[in-house]
């Protein structure tokens, strides 16, 4: 924690010193992102910022570009236009070492994408060994800590096919955490799970709140409402409205936001949009 703060100060310092082209003061800054697949324009100019250890939740109807936005941030599908800055470095700059930047951006996939040929433990330790060049034993020890953190210490030696969906996703989270990222991007982490397994994954995510920055695309309104520092509502490739959960749920400015939240609130039942 202390180390991070110091580094943060350095970056701030550097920016005020040099004052080069629009330096980014936020930890993560997404600037005016455009992305098309073929002739279909998915993202039409999306901008927002994130601070350290902040939790932001992106909500919105399907096909709105929420997942695409996450993939644009870590360059799994590079944006056509716009910039992404992390810790004062422009990820979208072709000169930037993208692999180095990706080490700082955890990614949790909707369909887990655990390495099928590796045990849960090795899934978590492989990045430490092969990317961070940690010693095998140290990497295993660290991986075990992360598995313990997500409550899967006893499943360490099982292969993905032997785990339930909820367990797989928790391994996915442990894998991202082990790399000590600045921010973790969650791409609908509970959408592929049985309702009864969703709770375990959400509990793990809640426990990370305030420890690492999280950008979460989800339809879990309870999570958005109770955990997020800010909710971003996206539709049609743009951000329609963003604000604190309380404000968004009780007092949204845009009619479209109110409509969406009302509909999804009714659908998911347990969290009413009122009070």
């Amino acid at each position: 924690m202390l180390k991070k703060n110091i580094r943060w100060q350095d970056i701030k310092q550097r920016h005020t010193d040099e004052n080069k082209e629009e330096p980014s003061m936020a930890m993560l800054e997404v600037k005016n992102i455009y992305k098309s697949y073929g002739t279909v324009e998915i993202l039409k100019g999306v901008s927002f910022t994130m601070e350290q250890e902040e939790t932001k939740v992106i909500i919105g109807p399907s096909g709105t570009g929420k997942s695409t936005l996450l993939r644009c941030i870590n360059q799994l599908s590079p944006p056509d236009k716009g910039q992404v800055w992390l810790d004062g470095e422009e990820i979208t700059n072709p000169k930037t070492n993208i692999n180095k930047m990706r080490e700082k951006i955890g990614f949790v996939f909707q369909d887990f994408n655990l390495f099928n040929h590796l045990t849960a433990l090795r899934n978590v330790s492989i990045g430490l060994e092969k990317v961070k060049k940690m010693e095998k034993d140290a990497a295993k020890k660290r991986a075990m800590q992360e598995l313990t953190r997500v409550g899967l210490a006893s499943q360490a030696n099982q292969y993905p096919a032997q785990l339930s969906g909820g367990q797989k996703q928790r391994v996915g989270i442990a894998r991202a955490l082990a790399m000590d990222p600045d921010v973790i991007l969650f791409d609908e982490p509970t959408s592929a799970l049985d309702p009864e397994l969703i709770g375990d994954v959400l509990d793990v995510m809640k426990s990370l709140c305030g420890k690492v920055a999280m950008l979460v695309v989800t339809h879990e309104m309870g999570f958005a409402r109770n955990v997020a520092n800010e909710i971003i509502f996206m539709e049609g490739g743009v951000i329609v409205e963003q604000g604190a959960p309380k404000e968004m749920f009780t007092n949204a400015k845009m009619a479209r936001t109110r409509e969406f939240l009302g509909r999804i609130g009714a659908l998911y039942g347990e969290e009413e949009t009122g009070g």
């Binding site: 692999n99 990706r102 996939f109 369909d111 994408n113 040929h117 492989i126 990045g127 292969y159 993905p160």
Partner: protein, 224 residues
């Protein structure tokens, strides 16, 4: 009488068998190494390289092995490339096998979900690391059945090296036939049996390997 001839022929058949095994070993080594490189290149390299590999595969899969062996052993000396028949046989067998094996590995690569490499990238692995640590281990496991098949084909096709004068099992049989024409049926039955036993053993071994490296969710056999 015939039995005597058979017993007499055993030492020379054994010599031939050793040459056959050497041809198989070197041929499969060359074919596998090159095949993996080709398949990886075809799937992940830039377009011109991938396209060149495609042409290589098409050409080598389109030429009969015997023609290829003749080209290498009798044809290449005309442009100043000389080698002994044993080396020529290994190169011919290896190159042909690499083209077929590349297809096996490419099929395996294509069956690995795209999310696997995305996950590798998201950890900060570069392409080479992702291929080596994530794609390769899964690809090899998925390739075992196809590879076993190719191995047995190569083993049997070493007999074509007889055509360029390599003194392997087949050629030794031919020598015996020339010396003692009456024994021809028995001798070639024996040679057939030797090939069969080799293939059978190879298949058994590969099934063992397949089982040993099998893992939950990665069974390559059907459930009945």
């Amino acid at each position: 009488m015939a039995l005597e001839a058979l017993i007499e022929s055993l030492p020379s058949l054994l010599d031939g068998l050793i040459v056959t095994l050497l041809l198989t070993a070197f041929g499969i080594l060359l074919g596998t190494t090159l095949g993996i490189v080709l398949a990886t290149g075809r799937s992940y390299a830039k377009r011109p390289i991938a396209y060149s590999i495609l042409i290589y595969e098409k050409v080598l899969r389109g030429i009969p092995l015997l023609v290829l062996l003749f080209l290498i052993y009798f044809g290449l000396p005309q442009i100043g490339i000389n080698m002994d028949a044993f080396t020529a046989a290994i190169i011919g067998l290896g190159l042909r096998s690499s083209a077929y094996q590349a297809q096996i590995y490419r099929g395996a690569i294509n069956s690995i979900p795209e999310g696997q490499i995305h996950a590798a990238f998201s950890l900060g692995m570069n392409k080479l690391k992702a291929i080596r640590h994530v794609i390769m281990p899964q690809m090899l496991r998925l390739s075992i059945p196809g590879w076993s098949n190719e191995f047995t084909i190569l083993l049997k096709d070493t007999s074509l090296a007889f055509g360029i004068g390599v003194i392997e099992l087949m050629r030794q049989g031919r020598y015996i036939q020339v010396r003692d024409p009456d024994s021809v049926l028995l001798v070639f039955l024996l040679i057939a049996l030797i090939y069969f036993a080799l293939v059978f053993t190879a298949n058994r071994t590969m099934r063992y390997v397949e089982k040993k490296y099998q893992m939950a969710g990665y069974q390559t056999e059907a459930h009945r």
